[in-house]
Homo-oligomer: 111 residues x 2
Amino acid sequence: MLIIPTQIAERLATGELIAAIAQELESNEVLMLAWMNKQALLNTIETRRATYWSRSRNSLWIKGESSGNFQEVSEISYDCDGDAILLKVKQSGSACHTGEKSCFHNEVALS
Amino acid sequence: MLIIPTQIAERLATGELIAAIAQELESNEVLMLAWMNKQALLNTIETRRATYWSRSRNSLWIKGESSGNFQEVSEISYDCDGDAILLKVKQSGSACHTGEKSCFHNEVALS
């Protein structure tokens, strides 16, 4: 039986999406942030492959399904107010569709 | 002059909030996820102290203002679709209001 923590389940039941951070298991590098609905989270727990909800395509999105750059999920934790989860993953290839390893490859200039 | 990248600025101009991940500079531990509007991001860039938008209180929230657990921001990057930013921070005390270092201290059981 798959168990979604109550706090998360209640949010998802309202149709709200939760934020999902993917962090590389070995390096601790933050690779990307995407979104999950209930089905995406259930699929992720069940298959151990990160599955998100694509807000632009309005559909489930198995990360790597088209690129081959799957994310194998080792650990999942969730935060104290239940609106975000953290996935520790083994990333095949690069996480970003641009070919960069991480989607966070653009810096904001600090004065 | 403070510069917000165009992609981020366009989202914020619509009233959409962006997700902000705080990651500890030295350990790379992910500490928390919160939300920012334009003013929160501008304050963060200007003061180098992480400032968020509290969705529950509907107000600006200088992290640490009441607890003393400020986040000194060393680097900011943003992701390829401009809906999330990553802050590298030096965390005073603990990030979580529960006293845990990170807000992500609850695990989801994987079968």
